[in-house]
Amino acid sequence: MKLLLVAPILIPLLTAGVTVAFWRAARFRAWCGVVGAAALLAAGGLLLAATAGGQVRTVQIGNWPAPFGITLAVDLFSALMVLITGIIGLMVAVYSLADVDIPRQRYGYFPLFHILLAGVCGAFITGDIFNLYVWFEVMLMASFLLLALGSERAQLEGAFKYVTINLISSMVFLTGVGILYGTAHTLNLADLALRVPEMMDRHGHLVRACAMLFGVCFGLKAAVFPLFFWLPASYATPPAAVSAVFAGLLTKVGVYALIRVFTLVFGSITGIYALILVVAGLTMLVGVLGAVAQFEMRRILSFHIISQIGYMIMGLGLLVSSDPGVRTLGLTAGIFYIIHHIIVKTNLFLVSGTVRQLGGTYDLRSLGGLVRAPLLSALFLIPALSLAGIPPLSGFWAKLGLIEAGFLGGQNTIVIVALLTSLLTLVSMMKIWNEVFWKPAPQDASEPAEPMAPGQWAARFIPIALLAGLTVLIGLFPAPLLTLAGRAADRLLNPAAYISAVNLHEAADAGLSTTQISEDKP
């Protein structure tokens, strides 16, 4: 069991190590990357099986009793996120075989890719706020390099903006950690969950300041309004496989951290969820309006990431309601939305890479007539319609849950904003459909690319088809995932199991206490 809990970190790191060791054998490295991602997927599945009943599994690194050591704590929400990371990791690894050119592979694409996965998984399973910072940094470092790999001018410009903004957000995070440790004298999330509500009387202003620092930092990573400007500028520059994994996973780590910290630690601050709800509405609306003005396929999709983040945050913001039914329903829908969105958005970016391969560009104005590739057209329509929330695809159930929770909770404004955004999303997806697939190819379009080699074709279409299949499957049979998401939301809202699983008493039994330090402070 202990080994299983660290597996989501160990497997990608080991894979990265092996791929670095065989630096010269490009083909071997590529396949090694695929196998490693498959192993990660298997570990995610086992983790989900181990937590599906709502159990919380923990391991104390180095056997230091909590809260002194680093705790890894996996509840159902974490396990779901690790599993989806495994799925995306495997699909993108396969797609990379065709999409990432040989020089990039030679300069370490696969090791970096797996270090990125390790960082993402580490952030999902850690139960310690400083450790969360460390995993964020691991993830960021790998993402910086992936973004800049290839050193094209646009990539470097995009990377510089991305690096700067993320370094600032790391500093903000670290500042928050410092102040939080200064007041609460602990960094363990479960311990913080117990102490922060007690501190509200005496150190309320400091706790609120910390909450805002974390909110800004995670908000920057998640690209919520008004902290989203870096995203379209950088995500549209690297190869499609890289932007697909960024679009699928990186912002969602920010969302995960927001949900985790604002349910477990800072839930007792008055007005925090109302603020999140307002931010969610603005994020949705601004994101989708930004997309309308764009004519570059990946930029449109990037702006849609922003607007979709709004929906996920809306699930968190609906905790503003005092009705437990609405709270659970809202958060359930939010979690469901994250899973659905990761699959769909990654898939859309993978499709955009294939469009570029066939049409030679990402610019809608010089694309056209791709309906001559009927399979690709169909595989674009599935995630695109799912993104807009057309039944019976997965996005429909996600939005239905959010809107139902919004109405039940009496938050009519946000529901109207959500519906309007949904409509505009559909408009925007239809714009891509019309421009790229339906309209005749423009006269001056470049010559159609020569047909792909069968291996290339398979490496591109199998991941896209599998992800589209998953979207349809979730859409037709949403019940299992809804049950899991519901249980995960229930556990997030009733963190007693999480806190007791971390086993803070072990330290107290051993005669150790963190309060000794805090009480002796000048």
């Binding site: 400083f130 470092m141 470097l156 370094l167 600032i168 670290l174 500042t175 003005a293 330090i517």
Partner: protein
């Protein structure tokens, strides 16, 4: 404590001022300053204790009361290592951007904006 607060404020302000500059080299230096400021902030927020190392005297199980908390220093050490690597990478990135774009004026680096 007050002195530290003033120093921290100065470092944050200086870092922020540099980051607002158009030259991307200055942005890099601003990042470095803010990184230092953050590390010092953790140090200060963890409590300043002078001359009381957290050492357990011979024959006892706990150090004498009022000892310095070693954890913030461990955090800072980690943060320093990470920020060192990030600064090195950013420096290379700044150089790469300068070589690829032929300018280090951030006003000219707008090709990926809308």
């Amino acid at each position: 404590m007050l002195l530290m607060a003033i120093v921290l404020g100065g470092l944050f302000a200086g870092g922020l001022y540099l980051m607002l500059a158009r030259s991307i080299t200055r942005v890099l230096l601003g990042l470095v300053l803010i990184g230092h400021a953050t590390n010092l902030l953790i140090f200060t927020a963890g409590g300043l204790v002078r001359g009381r190392p957290p050492l357990v005297p011979a024959g006892q199980t706990e150090p004498a009361a009022g000892y310095a908390d070693p954890l913030p220093q461990a955090l800072i050490l980690t943060a320093i290592v990470i920020s060192f690597a990030l600064t090195a990478f950013t420096a290379v990135l700044v150089r790469g951007t300068y070589q690829a774009a032929g300018t280090e004026d951030s006003d000219d680096l707008r090709s990926t904006d809308t």
